[in-house]
Amino acid sequence: MTEDAATPPTPEHASRTSRGEPSTFLEAIAEALFEEMIRDEAVLLLGEDIGEYGGAFKVTRGFLDRFGPDRVVDTPIAEAGFTGLAAGAAHVGLRPVVEMQFMDFISPAYDVITNYIATSRYRGAGAQPLVIRGPVGGGGRAGPFHSQNVEMAFFHTPGLNIVYPSTARDAKGLLKAAIRSDEPVIFEEHKGLYRAPFLREVLPVDDLVIPLGKARTAREGEDVTVVTYGMMVHRCLAAARSLEEEGVSVEVVDLRTLLPLDDDHIMESVRKTGRLLIVHEDTRTGGIAGEIAIRVNEQAFEWLDAPIARVTAPDAPVPYAPDLEDAFLPDEAEIARAVRYLAKY
């Protein structure tokens, strides 16, 4: 597509890289959406208040002007309906990206996602490749219905992919890969990362696509492996930096994609350090730590020098009161304490 006088302006926040400017996590997501919409006319956006209003978090500000109402669709508040609609459109060749205004509101669409979208290929119907993206996570004093992480509600469903990036670069590259993928992808964006100044970075100018299903080593270390994702990557990195001063060398593995899990990457790190801590912001029972622990048990037991430990949110809804929410969310001190325990074991 060529830009001419008749083409409305490119949204400024979705084109920082082309001007050599750094992008926040949120801007990186906007860029991914923008670039994929330019690349492929089958890509369209659906969601509540995403057009005229620009989205609850303003990810799609200016997109309606640029792409028009057929490609930036303000939906009614009807998650089951518009997710089903997106699945149908995907089934016949479109590439819809659905925004959940908050991922907590994915629940009305649970049926179509787990029964239909996830099993479409298996049922002989062919793929329904769509992306369902939106904000997750606590720390904003937003209470029980606007702070949840939704990965484990879907982790148990074969046929889905779940992506949960922790940096601007990964957010952009993984979202572009998700849109191009022939799999249905649930894409979680932690609200606390959206505008975090420390995540602003100048992104590569070339087409940034990061493959799904691959973890990354966020920090190399020798003594203890910490496997984590999302916001917790940054808390683990902070803990690792302070532990360094105590002489404990921590390796931090950022999963990036939760489903499918990158077993090879996890095992390689565990075989090196012999000690594993798993950290997630999601609640404890049925959390991803349990699945990772059993996989390590199956694939790397002989390399372990200590029991596998986890630091997670407790089994409770996300509370509103600041003191309670702070106590709810795993913090740097707790992570450091668990690492010390493992290192000494």
Binding site: G143, F145, V311, D315, D323
Partner: protein, 360 residues
Amino acid sequence: MAETAEQDQIMEPQEAPQVELDRYSKEELHRFLGEMLFYRRFEEKAEEAYAIGKIGGFCHLHIGQEAVALGMIGPLREDDYVITAYRDHTQGLAKGADPGAVMAELYGRDTGTSRGKGGSMHIFDVEKGFMGGHGIVGAQVPLAAGMGFAIRYREEDRVCVCFMGDAAVNQGAFHEALNMAAIWKLPVIFVVENNEYGMGTAFSRVSALPVVDRARGLGVRAHHVDAQDIVRTHAFMEDLVEEVRGGAGPQYVDARTYRFKGHSMSDPVSGTYRSTEEVESRKKEQDPIGVLRDRLMEAELLTEEELEELDKEARARAQEAADWAEEQPDPDPSELYTHVYAEENEHGRLYFDGRDREED
């Protein structure tokens, strides 16, 4: 054929009639004004507290919609049920929740209505029949049908009033619930607080039919009311509640109102989705407090001094709630583990987070 025509007649949406002031005593009318002023001042206090960080997260104010809360809840008995969405502070107050406890909840304090765990969108006072604020758009509508079901099941003469925003009528849950209410003749009054907008999207952009017509295909009788007029709204609801108590079955009310503030405290008042002029003109012409004040003054039922006195009282009550909330303790972090299950048995339930085990 005749039956169908009659059916059609019944299903034609009815407008709530204009009501003369003499339906109410002067004291009653002053009470209406005083209550609405109190709701307004309460919300302004919340706004103030939010601005200085005493309230966090999402906070949706009811300013401009006070007559809906008072007019629809005022005619109810204490044992009737009210259930609503997340714009829930004043409905709670109207149903009898303690203002201090509501404010303490907004402040995230231990003595708040949900002990600080829910916040603004989750105000409850079950003893007073206030069955809560609900943050998932449309999700409370089937719950209301369930309360209606329980009333009928136990052969009680209570009613349930279910509030929702205009945007909620596009949720599947709305349609499923109204159909059930209709087939089982449940004593539920579904009130749409039609302020014409969702968060930042005009209702007309996401709905092919106007609010009032959305219940017809489900077999629930529809009404509409100018809900900026408290006298009309209150009188209409008094009659409707008695009908439903008497077995008239579910009702659907398009309560026409307007939101004067942004969707939540983190949203602008106007912008891409509605103009500043529109908001200003509605505030000038359709402020429920202004409408009643002008009508009373015109009828010489209210003096400037009386108005001032009522407002002073309203401010004092709001201030008292804020002062009380201010003094309340924060919840202890150990409260994280309470109220998750009925029984708090450390060894029987997996709410234990196991953190201590990682102590060195």
